[in-house]
């Protein structure tokens, strides 16, 4: 009994060893598994933000008064607004906006100060480049906030009788980077792990070595485990690398602990590898395996809530995301990393991984024998 177990483990180790060799023997492969993850997490860490911190603006100040200068000085002092053009006629506004030179054009009418003094509302016209309506909306909100401050500083201004005090948990400045970076821990590694596992069987089928493997004393289950373990290890290593970048390069504070994070990531990676192996067992060639994987990857990433919140989606799409393991993985990483949740409160994120692994792993093993190339 004990011997068979040792025998089993020995064989498994041999198989894993062989699979690791296949993945790592090519130096180009080693590079492609390590460098891009780090590079991407750095690059996307900087790029993937909705926080607008550079607003080039053009101004047409027809008022030329103390108040208009004060208002503009407030804009300039934020460090966010940068004046790129001082216009002299309203016909110039269109050009500045059209060529994308300025994101915002401010028009201060001639009677600005007179209106302000008379107690009537003094209009400040703001023209926004809506080619990215999200950026434009953000810029508009910032201008409104500055104008509200300006108004409060006017003589005779009273504080509004009702104010809203906002407090944001886990992310006091509501930085979007803090939301997207933890999401990358799950998604960037998934992209390569699923590809890796999808190719593992397809490669052997294409080269004809899979039949040889099938006639060895290995059971399909063992072959599957042997194929799965290396991919899982690669995935966890990649996740760890990204996490190091998020924690120590971008300094996103980590509220949770390592154990729930890794338990979640491990189960997620197992589910993903199961999915990859099933694709691999179905595909006749490496190219098919890659194409199927890619076609699957796109919706998985887009509908995961990585860049656009799941709750923004229409109801039908939100329901569709329940079939997406990445959605739960990103949710889990955010809950643990940002919010410090413990394993006990995460079962609803873990359950989909268990279900997925329970379906895909046996399916892959079954397909190994039953699919005729």
């Amino acid at each position: 009994m004990q011997n068979t177990l040792i025998d089993f483990l020995n064989r498994l180790i041999n198989l894993c060893h062989k699979e690791f060799m296949v993945i790592l023997k090519d130096p180009a492969n080693r590079v492609i598994l390590i460098v891009p993850v780090i590079l991407q997490s750095l690059l996307f860490g900087y790029a993937a933000t909705f926080d607008l911190n550079n607003i080039p603006y053009a101004v047409l100040d027809q008022s030329h008064t103390e108040s208009s200068r004060q208002l503009l000085a407030r804009l300039d002092s934020t460090g966010v607004f940068h004046r790129v053009a001082t216009l002299t006629s309203s016909s110039q506004i269109a050009h500045e906006i059209d060529v994308g030179h300025a994101l915002v054009a401010l028009h201060i009418p001639p009677d600005f100060e007179r209106q302000l003094g008379s107690g009537a509302p003094a209009p400040l016209q703001v023209i926004l480049d809506g080619r990215n309506s999200n950026t434009a909306g953000n810029a508009s909100a910032q201008i409104r906030a500055i104008v509200a401050n300006f108004n409060a500083s006017l003589p005779g201004a009273t504080a509004p009788a009702l104010s809203v005090q906002t407090r944001a948990w886990f992310n006091p400045n509501l930085e979007t980077r803090w939301n997207i970076l933890p999401g990358l821990i799950a998604s960037l590694s998934m992209m390569q792990v699923i590809m890796l596992s999808a190719l593992s069987v397809a490669r052997e089928r294409e080269q004809g070595t899979f039949d040889q493997l099938l006639v060895t004393p290995y059971t399909p289950e063992m072959i599957m485990v042997g194929k799965a373990i290396p991919s899982i290890v690669v995935g966890l290593v990649q996740s760890s690398l990204i996490m190091l970048v998020v924690r120590f390069w971008f300094h996103v504070p980590m509220a949770g602990s390592i154990l729930p994070l890794y338990s979640g990531l491990l189960m997620f990676t197992i589910a993903i590898v199961g999915l990859g192996l099933s694709i691999s067992a179905l595909a006749a060639t490496m190219q098919q395996a890659m194409l199927y994987t890619f076609v699957l990857l796109m919706p998985l990433i887009l509908l995961s809530g990585l860049a656009t919140p799941v709750h923004n989606m229409p109801e039908a799409f939100q329901i569709a995301t329940y079939a997406n393991p990445l959605r739960f993985a990103i949710d889990l990483v955010r809950r643990v990393y940002l919010e410090g949740n413990s394993l006990a409160t995460l079962w609803h994120d873990l359950l989909p991984f268990v279900c997925m692994a329970a379906i895909t792993m046996p399916l892959a093993a079954w397909l190994f024998r039953h699919r005729l190339v």
């Binding site: 809506g130 080619r131 990215n132 944001a168 919140p309 809950r335």
Partner: protein, 386 residues
Amino acid sequence: MKLPFTKRPTATSWQAFWQRLISLIRKEFRQLLRDRSNLLIGIGLPIALILIFGYGLTLDVRNARLVVALEDGSPTAHDVIATINGSPYMSTTEVRSLGEARQQLIQHQVDGIVHIPNDFSARLANGQGVIQLILPGGDPIRSSAIQGYVEAAASLWLQQQNDLSGNKTRRAGVLVVDRMWFNAANTSTWFLVPGLIVLIMTLVGTFLTALVMAREWERGTLEALFVTPVHPVEVLLSKIVPYFCVGLLGLAMCVVAAKLLFAVPIQGSLILIVLASMIYMVVSLAIGLLISAFAKNQFLASQIAILASFMPAMMLSGFIFDLRNVPLLVRLAGYLLPATYFMELIKTLFLAGDQWTLLFKDCGILLLYAVALLGLARLVTRKRLD
């Protein structure tokens, strides 16, 4: 397939060139159509992307669920909540204690807590009313928007109160009147769907081409073609043409979907959109050919194509994330990408119309890329033959 080979640039050699090219293209089309997984990427995936981006993804925050921790049961407090509820973007449920509300927020059942403290109406009477809004920072995109909505609702309520009481308290000041050009509907769909054209062309041009060509290198079928009388240029051209057509098909689907399904305005001329797309398609194909020639291995080629071309086109080209927000170094990386210029161009052509300055600049840059990259691809292909 054996055709007479001649080096003299005579009329017959041109004729032979076309003959060879056409039969090669026919072969490539057959090869492309035979493998269903190619069609899946070239046609199936674009359709899925159009539907996902058009219907599914949006940056516009709607249906925010707020829980109200109502500790003050006064009619005034109820009135404020009614105003918040009146917003088309928010709906509220009520609980009696803050603890209960916190629990709901921790479990992500709601998008935020509106806390109305028990001294709310008393303080409001003194002109110091405070509503507390607690938001989950884990979702800053929604949280920022909800903060804006609640603040707007609060000032709306205040204004209504002033109007009702005939209160003439002078609340003068600057009034922001903003107008958003090019996106009257203020919806992210209007810029996501045109931007999708860039993604689809990158997908077909770079990813699919790199993958298919890498397989030919891997299997040596390309060398087999080279030993026939066919010239390497003809081989390259014949490989490019079918994918070029698939890319244009993707463009056509995007334009039709934008127009019919999502009512995105097309302000610019269609001819310019097609022309600009054709230039970018050539750039994208050239990148795909280059990647395959360097990698010569399917796994490597597909990884490089995704990492060096597709992902940057999605993340660094200004598609979703505005390049204005990023540090200089990353912005420069964005400006190295041909996709960035095509993105700017296609969004402008759809939403702003024919802006000639921008058009000449971006088309010029794309043309330079096309010429340089095609030349490079040609060079690499010949080298491999020697």
